[in-house]
């Protein structure tokens, strides 16, 4: 297959929102001003698990600055029903319950009531005047504890779905599924070496810098208008409409600029509460979380207990694998265990596999997606066990992986068969990378030791619907209307895909991200799908523009056929550039408006690998990252700078997850480190430059071959760092984070 030649795709034009974002002009959710605006504040549970005995709002309501108070009782009275908002079937009461608790609180930080007042400071003070009476209940904080017989139950009505069938006994396990391929017992019997290990990982947070914020106005025409920081305006619309029992047409959501999400701004938290307060007060109401609220009351990503067993022949051929994945969903079902099962062995062709997944509720915040949700925990286990197999068999760890790499046609345990993928190309790029053969360098002091580790990760990426409208202006510029929140330069990567078709430059495009009334349904900015799917819609909309422009040119020139190539329309001896023709559309006919919507089924999975060098201080257990290389298959890098940016950002999040980040919980279920001081995310001083190598194995279904690069890059870093720590110290780390005390403990254990 010859590589297509592009004029714009693969270049690095400046982003369209650049000037707004370096001058402070870009409007984020918290920046919104509105006449009559009130400020909301949410009262949250101090208990990890407690029965709500009473809520007395009288003192709060009597405060002169108080304008309204809501609790779960203010949701419209609707019978319980099962709803599906794209994350699987869930009882309505669970979805509402995470907005405002009813009956019981299930985690510290669980919202119980909210106040609207004349200022944010006043609202926060008034919320404290609400008098809550609780009966504290015993709590469970980890999956194994919640699965143990006699564990306190979070939801008396919850029954485990076992292999897809309902069971009858109350349980904290919402779902237990099994994926089987081949026969793992027989597979292990053929193996020369079998290694089985247990792993645990702590709860971690996405750590976006902008706290959740939403402003709601229950307008006098009965429409509910919402402005918020979200990864998916249509998800907000559908969720809020569902919770408030409104038709979706009554709700309009305007996505503001968003200050990071990484999956954590897919779910709603404050939007329905602001809406209820607006309904009650008749004013627009803004709620912005504090950092503590974000950590305690939004959705982190699951902690987990994982057991992985892998069998190999002496030559390194993997013959069988087994995984036990117990993931903490937090307070409500929905741990990302199904994608974890998809990813746990996805990089390898292993004929015999058995994978058990458990979705377990615990008394922690209800979890949310975080960049390749579920996959990082799983890869930590698999990639560490593989490193041990390579060590035992005296094989190069990359050779072992290359020998077993998944390829086109490889089947996964979930039944899917890979189309063209770039796993092997990523591994071979790693092997050939100068970093892999470079000397480790001398340790910086006498007590330091260095080591190198590798690992690879997979994320399947999502499709989902996207819509795009293109308005051709008389000066030849094109307004691009889309619905994908731009978290990392996607306005530009989408606009470039339309501009390439039209033969225009990036700066000829005028992309706008608009509200849910103004653009067709568009799924979340998540699943690494935005450049892939909304870009695809932009490509198709541009083709629609070309079709219409050709028709206008044919009429103008009175010719039968018009050609369009390299930005020039030709018909007979006539010739006009796109811009020249755009200027004359007015005299020929109606304005040219191109549009397209897509719902692609063929998202192309992405593989990403890491080579990392660490230095461990053998007297303190502290690990420093000395050199880091991220390799990822982008399919096609539309804007390489922002592809690299995704790889670098995911890598550093992975470094934080590996080394220091965790929810440090007291025995009573309180988060003891709910601040950016003690929830230790890496600063610029904790990481080196992150080298990148973009691999391009085109996704055969996408017009430009795009796969999506947002997520796979976070999967491998913790495992690669664990392997590097082993290389440096001789110790295998099987718990995340591998913080200084735990590495030191391993060293002292000897």
């Amino acid at each position: 297959m010859s590589t297509p030649q592009y004029s714009l795709i693969g270049t690095r034009p400046p982003r369209h929102d650049g000037a707004d974002k370096v001058t402070g002009r870009a409007l984020y959710g918290a920046d919104l001003k509105m006449s009559g605006l009130l400020h909301g504040s949410i009262l949250r549970s101090p208990h990890a698990h407690a029965r709500i005995l009473s809520i007395d709002t009288s003192k709060a309501a009597a405060h002169p600055d108080c304008r309204g108070i809501v609790t779960a009782a203010d949701f419209p009275a609707t019978p319980e029903r099962i709803v599906d908002l794209g994350e699987g079937e869930t009882p309505l009461s669970y979805i509402r319950g995470n907005m405002l608790a009813s009956g019981k609180v299930l985690y510290e930080g669980h919202a119980v009531a909210a106040v609207a007042a004349t200022s944010a400071q006043a609202a926060a003070e008034i919320a404290k005047l609400i008098e809550m009476k609780y009966e504290p209940l015993p709590c469970v904080l980890t999956a194994p504890a919640a699965m143990a017989p006699g564990a306190p139950l979070l939801h008396p009505d919850l029954r485990c779905k076992e292999f897809g069938q309902p069971t009858t006994a109350p349980s904290n396990v919402a779902d237990h599924f099994r994926q089987v391929m081949g026969n793992s017992e027989e597979g292990f019997a053929q193996a020369d070496i079998v290694i089985e290990r247990e792993f645990t990982t702590s709860t971690v947070h996405q750590g976006y810098i902008e706290p959740h914020t939403a402003t709601a106005l229950w307008n006098n025409d009965g429409r509910l208008l919402i402005w918020c920081a979200t990864q998916g305006s249509f998800v907000v619309r559908d969720s809020v409409a569902c919770m408030l029992d409104l038709p979706v047409s009554r709700v309009r959501v305007t996505p503001m600029e968003i200050g990071g999400g990484f999956g954590g701004k897919v779910p709603v938290y404050v939007e329905p509460v602001a809406a209820l307060l607006s309904q009650k007060t008749g004013h627009p109401v803004k709620i912005t979380m504090t950092r503590r609220e974000v950590l305690e009351g939004s959705g982190p990503t699951p902690g987990s207990f994982i057991r992985v067993k892998i069998g190999a022949k002496k030559d390194g051929t993997l013959v069988a694998a087994q995984a036990y994945l117990a993931y903490e969903a937090g307070a409500y079902p929905g741990a990302m265990v199904s994608p974890a099962a998809t990813c746990v062995f996805a990089a390898y062709d292993i004929p015999n596999q058995t994978i058990d997944g458990y979705d377990v509720v615990v008394n922690k915040p209800s979890t949310a997606p975080y960049r390749a949700p579920g996959a990082t925990n799983a890869a930590f286990a698999t990639e560490t066990v593989l490193d041990e197999i390579a060590e035992t068999l005296k094989l190069d760890p990359l050779d072992l992986r290359i020998r077993n790499a998944a390829k086109e046609g490889t089947r996964r345990a979930d039944g899917a068969k890979f189309r063209r993928i770039g796993c092997l190309e990523v591994l071979e790029t790693m092997k050939a990378h100068p970093h892999y053969s470079a000397p480790l360098g001398e340790p910086s002091h006498a007590a330091a030791q260095r080591g190198r580790g590798v690992a690879v990760g997979f994320w399947m990426n999502a499709g989902l619907p996207s819509s795009c409208t293109l308005n051709v202006h008389a000066d030849g510029s094109v307004g691009l209307i889309e619905g994908s929140t731009d978290i990392g330069g996607s306005r530009t990567s989408i606009a470039m895909q339309a501009a390439e078709v039209l033969g225009l430059q990036s700066e000829d495009m005028r992309p706008s991200v608009v509200d849910t009334d103004t653009i067709g349904y568009t799924g979340v900015t998540g699943g690494s799908r935005t450049t892939f799917a909304t870009g695809w819609a932009a490509h198709d909309a541009a083709q629609d523009v070309v079709r219409q422009m050709k028709e206008r040119a044919a009429r103008l020139w009175q010719v039968e056929e018009v050609q369009f190539a390299n930005g020039v329309f030709t018909g007979g001896e006539h010739k006009l550039t796109f811009k020249q023709l755009a200027a004359r559309v007015g005299e020929i006919g109606a304005p040219v408006v191109g549009r397209a919507s897509v719902n692609p089924r063929g998202a192309g999975g992405s593989f990403a690998g890491v080579i990392v060098d660490v230095e461990v201080d053998m007297e303190t257990g502290k690990t420093s990252i000395i050199r880091f290389t991220s390799v990822q298959d982008a399919g096609k890098a539309i804007h390489p700078s922002y592809v690299e940016g995704q790889m670098q950002g995911g890598s550093v999040q992975g470094i934080g997850w590996a080394l220091n980040e965790e929810y440090f919980m007291s025995a009573e279920g309180r988060m003891m480190n709910a601040s950016f001081l003690d929830y230790r995310m890496p600063t610029a001083l904790d990481v080196p430059m992150i080298d990148t190598a973009i691999v391009e194995v085109p996704n055969p279904v996408h017009p430009y071959g795009v796969r999506g690069v947002g997520e796979a890059n976070i999967v491998a870093p913790p495992a690669a760092i664990a392997n590097a720590i082993h290389a440096a110290t001789g110790h295998r780390m099987r718990h995340l984070p591998m913080n200084p005390p735990s590495v030191m403990a391993a060293i002292l254990r000897g």
């Binding site: 503590r292 303190t620 600063t683 001083l685 002292l748």
Partner: protein
């Protein structure tokens, strides 16, 4: 944050009478601790008295014969940049560059670090090692307090109602004197010391003639371990002497386990860091 009034006196006398009239008032220097505590409800007040408009609290004065006087509200950034301080008290300039990050150092002060009385305060062990004196103003006049006596419990200092800290005095370092503060943090910056060790040593004719060792984050207050320093006096600066002092420091540590680190790890670090800090100071 609860509502409060604000006053910014211009002179010491004005401040003294304000503080005397409002014993529940909170005095404000850099605010990097106070404002956080007012926001999270750990402290409440009806009046904040901003001391940054008083010249004495904002001045660095160096007298090559006597020593260095640092106003209680001088921000760390100013200490880092001060030429005399960098030359004569390099360890102090270094510790000023450790507290928080750049923007925090634009506000945070040694005085605030001391008055906040956190067991983890980075500057306090070093100030103890430097034999610093805290000058306190109050209704009874001025009194000087050795820094090691200043903190009495987590978040509590010995200031009586009506008193506030004016400045901190550092004696002029003698020949052969070196000081060093080392801390351990999981992140390289923007972190709280899991353990901190401040040491000072004086070597004359190949023998240690003075030594002071103080620890952070291993006791309810910054901990002056006199016996650890004393053990070095009269000895040659050998690894054995250093190891002995380190083990005395370690023995004095009474750390707790919390979200920042387990106690046994802190105890372990105490020995490692004391050894490293002494080695560094004695190698200078």
């Amino acid at each position: 944050m609860k509502s409060f009034d604000y006053a910014a006196p211009r002179t010491l006398d004005e401040a003294l009478s304000l503080v005397a009239q409002n014993p529940q008032a909170q005095v404000l220097a850099g605010g990097t601790d106070l404002l956080v505590q007012l926001k999270n409800g750990r402290r409440e007040t009806d009046l904040v008295i901003d001391l940054k408009r008083i010249a004495e609290l904002k001045t660095i004065a160096f007298d090559p014969k006597k020593g260095l006087t640092v106003g209680a509200a001088v921000p760390c950034a100013q200490l880092c940049a001060h030429a005399d301080l960098r030359q004569h008290y390099p360890s102090l300039a270094e510790v000023a560059g450790l507290i928080g990050g750049t923007a925090i150092q634009g506000r945070a002060s040694l005085g605030g670090n001391l008055c906040n009385a956190a067991p983890s305060a980075d500057s306090v062990p070093l100030m103890i090692a430097l034999a610093a004196q805290a000058r306190v103003a109050g209704p009874q006049g001025i009194r000087d307090v050795p820094v090691e006596d200043f903190c009495v419990a987590p978040g509590k200092n010995l200031l009586a109602p009506g008193e506030f800290l004016v400045n901190i005095f550092f004696p002029i370092p003698a020949a052969g004197f070196h000081a060093q503060y080392l801390r351990f943090t999981p992140r390289n910056e923007m972190d709280i010391a899991v353990v901190g060790v401040g040491v000072s040593t004086r070597v004359e004719n190949g023998k240690i003639t003075a030594a002071r060792i103080a620890l952070a984050s291993v006791a309810p207050t910054p901990l002056f371990v006199k016996e650890a320093g004393d053990s070095l006096i009269g000895q040659a600066p050998t690894p054995e002497a250093i190891a002995q002092a380190a083990s005395l420091a370690q023995a004095a540590a009474k750390p707790i386990s919390d979200m920042r680190a387990p106690a046994d790890y802190r105890r372990h670090l105490c020995g490692v860091l004391t050894r490293r800090a002494l080695t560094a100071a004695l190698a200078q």
